[in-house]
Symmetry: D2
Subunit: 362 residues, 4 copies
């Protein structure tokens, strides 16, 4: 698809940690091209490269040394309103507060908003989507369109911690049925954005609390593993307990998981089920889809977040140490990239699925 | 008790991370005085300050700036044999391998060995002792003495991770009865000694594996919470699942715990039970006993290992976030100093208990 | 001195990183007692323990476990105005902006303000004081009093990086004369306050820039090493080049220093000069004075900030590796506690000097 | 060049940190193909993937997820002798001790050894080579060949800290002439190999000492900037003082540099000279050559090691903050990848230069 034919998109909240990852992924995307970068009022009118504390390798705006493409550091930031920043596809890296007003405004103007914000995740007509897990839920976009009579709508990706967990649970839920889950997380600082976590708080420390996280994980996980029935999602019937911690790691959440599965399968059967798992993004060969959504490690001390998080562009989750749990039957560790698979890459993959299904056509 | 009257002691493995903490605690102890510092062959004959990479604040050997006492940096290291290093009380910071031969040799020579090594922890006649938890098990020392016909014996402190956990479980076991435990640890690098964990492995990383740790924690915990009956310990009847991780923290293990208790008490009842817990060390006012063995935090984001681990000389464990667990009933986080409460301070407190009971008298 | 007889003091900016250290030092100070804790408007009326994210060991307000004194977590914060918060002695942990108005207001009301802010450090009539270095400059307080006709005044402690450097240069300046200095700093994150440096910026990183720092160090150092002549400070005639870096260290600035001294003394002579250095705080045995203001290490790899920074309550600076520099003659490393010797402890020592000289009497 | 035509090479010390980087670079190299992986005796006969604690992203042996090539994790390790491991080109990641015997053995057998070891760096007939800096010194390889009458020889890359510094000094030396240099380093832990620096030593710490480093930097730098005259290198006539520190950074050395240049050029002239610098690797478009050997940053707080070290495959050095130094005239910060530009990538670039000049032909 030539540059002219690529679908114009807007990034909302382009200067933040997740917004930057949207930009870095979009500057060379085969299907989408950046039309607008939108930011909060105090940044409007400034060049992206000036308004932004770039967190990623390479230069601000996604250009890398020795690359021929231009990046978008020179772009002027516009206001986050449909008037100033409309495009048929919108990626939202907004915080939940601003998202509550801005995302519906873009949807009402006819845009499909792929959002990383939590504002509408539990809205009954909004798909809370991980394409490998619950691609069928995308049908809720039609429900939104029918209601509004327009082309617009909102599609959410889940909380990063829930995403990593759910990618490991989904194959097991399909194959066996998940009944009970205990999850203890060790989460990276990038999950809190920039400036986010103070270095005074986290250097050499573990903080055993992340606001709202232990509530979001169970409800979002149950919704994603749930079934679409009569135009509504019936959450999966499982019990989930989450304990969330911040650790001095840059990118990537590690989660220690114990799970009770129907039929009490062996660790070998569980590992095989996870390793063989493929979903619709793999069948459709979506541009951001990893070859293997769940990468199963056999080394006794892997996955390790610093060493494994970037594999597959940060879009695989990594499972290791599948073993017996004396309490729930099976335990393992799962690790994934909170800011890619759990945020920017997630919404981009959602948009790719929608496009592959013809839902973004003019 | 004047210096002359203090009981002479030997430190085995004096140059290592735990050995150093024994030294630092002993240089000003009111009841004990260092008679011998023993080390491996290649260090014998060298001054302690030269043979040792001191890990603690102050000068090698436990002297602090502006303190009047001398420390023991100038002492000459001796061989770890009863011939070279006998004293009636011995503190062992040996690795498990050497401990297997050396500790019984000292016991046979008439010494009471207070050991941090794992070699004899599960030996039926060796007390695996945390004085607040199972002071009654110290009676096994008599069993050893009767068998050998001598004054010697071995008393072990448990694995550091098990110690921290058990101090939080013991009050609950007494008050309610512990049935099921899930524990996910985030452990400090000092738990692996020096040089121990390579910086290349742990900087910005989480390692989801610690050799043998997930096996030791359940068996040692059940033993400590068990009952002495007819001269043998009957382990507590509980199911415990442990998942152990190394994190880039210097000192102090953080453990996320879920627990099923008989009678399903409320979080408030659990917190109160923990906060009011006192044991024999507190009743006897042992020199190394913390005022509160379990310190219950009310701030939503505490305990934090870097900020709380030193409180009470590292001898308290810290509990926070006592709340409902949808799976097992109660969850909380507990944190304690692996190298003090979980190692050197632990064996010292064991020795203090033995002395207070008159078991170390000539 | 009984509690009643102690001098009442106010802490301005009590909730910040430096303010907390003032509080922790003052709760048990033999000469001073806290009368008011003042904070910004949004904290006024709240309890100190609630308004404050406590950074130090122990409980908010300076109480440690098992201590009998009360701490001041329960105190109500008052406004930072003389009307609400007057005391004859004031410790200021304000940022430079607010300090510009608030400190003179307290001075005008008759208080002697001991300030850690940079606002008035280069004011010709304000002593920029390190008691071991330039106790004579305190005479400028009289100049202020004569001008105002009142009892009030302002006394500043220097920038933390300059303080650590100057404590090492002062003995050499006295003994030999300092001509040229090159200083490269590796500074702790606590120097930027809380939340200060984002963990996303500093984990596993070095930031080669600290705003204004390379300008402050030369001018403040030259002023402190200067001479009081005819009621004004004549700065020392030396050339100083500073390069400042932030590193992932919690507390304590490490500085690599090369220096050209008159007479080209040997490393041994330099080390001896530093080790023997004592100043007026040592002669007067001021409560916060370390026994040795400059502690000279002989181990080849010391001082190390994490291991040595707390020695002497953080009030000593540590010098090591005194050796030949092929460019300037002598090089060494110096390390000191930015938030104690370089901030809260600094101003407290200044106040102790003033009190010992009778300048704070009613 | 097809796989068949590629030059077979041996990697000595293949399991270490630098050896792994050789492997990762060679598995897909256009000119070279791995013939032998050699290791110490206890690893001989084991598969590479088993004998090696892989430090790099992807799987052991250089295969990345989703890549079609095979990596070399399944290769069997052979002994580090010419009999077992001969190839016409050898890359040595040996420690200095073993290198002293093994490298000459391979050279005597007719191999050209490109070595990262320090053993022969100061040997008068061994080129100490950075291709952008002193490509002419490669002529010493002919001297070796004439002496031995064979095809073999040894070519060294310098110490990592010296390499980073010299790449920044070389353009200035050519354009102006370098007279005096002060360099303070903040070095990554990977420079010490694996396990290398203990996490207990470096977490939250700065170690102001690296053995032999302050001696190597001046002598190697002067040699590289020197001139080949009558078959011998005349070192550059400059005075250099180095102060070396270890910091908790994974990869990449940061160096604060002050320099006195002939003619006292402005910071702007210095920055322009560095930015425009190109060398023979760029002219020849060698496969491992970065487009810009010195990348000059204009942001006030860059380069930052964690964010910039990977740019250009780790083969560029990064300069920032070029400014006036009151002592020596110019100061700046330079940062480079110790294990790529300073080790594996360095020797590989040396081999590419030799090959491009026809020195490796059969």
């Amino acid at each position: 698809m030539g540059s002219a034919a690529r679908i114009p998109v807007t990034v909302l909240g382009a200067t933040g940690v997740v917004g930057q990852r949207f930009v870095a992924r979009l500057v060379q995307h085969p299907w989408f091209r950046i039309e607008h970068l939108a930011a909060s009022e105090r940044s409007v009118g400034r060049a992206y490269a000036e308004a932004c504390t770039w967190q990623l390798p390479g230069e601000t705006g996604g250009r890398h040394a020795n690359e021929s493409h231009a990046g978008c550091g020179a772009r002027t930031l516009v206001a986050a309103t449909p008037e100033a920043a409309f495009a048929p596809v919108v990626f939202s890296a907004l915080d939940s507060g601003p998202a509550r007003d801005i995302e519906p405004a873009f949807a009402a103007a006819g845009a499909v908003v792929f959002s990383n914000a939590s504002a509408f995740r539990m809205d009954p007509v909004v798909p809370l989507l991980v394409p490998e897990v619950n691609a069928a839920h995308l049908a809720l976009l039609d429900t939104q369109r029918v209601r509004s009579g327009g082309r617009g709508g909102i599609v959410c990706n889940p909380n990063c911690t829930a995403t990593v967990l759910t990618l490991a649970l989904a194959p097991l839920h399909r194959a066996f049925g998940v009944q009970t889950v205990m999850m203890t997380s060790m989460q990276a600082v990038s999950g809190a954005g920039w400036p986010g976590v103070s270095s005074l708080d986290i250097l050499g420390n573990v903080i055993p609390y992340i606001r709202d996280e232990e509530e979001k994980v169970p409800e979002e996980t149950a919704r994603m593993l749930g079934t679409l029935r009569d135009g509504a999602v019936v959450p999966a019937d499982l019990t989930l307990s989450a304990a969330c911690h911040r650790v001095p790691v840059l990118d990537g959440h590690t989660e220690a998981v114990s799970v009770r599965l129907r039929g009490d399968p062996s660790p070998e059967a569980v590992a095989e089920c996870l390793a063989e798992f493929r979903g619709e993004p793999q069948e459709l060969s979506l541009p951001s889809a990893p070859e293997r959504p769940v990468y199963v490690h056999t080394a006794p001390d892997r996955p390790q977040v610093r060493r494994d998080v970037q594999a597959g562009g940060g879009m695989s989750v990594h499972v290791g140490r599948v073993r017996r749990c004396p309490v729930l039957g099976i335990k393992f560790v799962v690790m994934g990239h909170n800011a890619e698979r759990g945020a920017a890459g997630a919404s981009l993959l959602n948009a790719e699925l929608a496009h592959a299904r013809g839902l973004l056509d003019a």
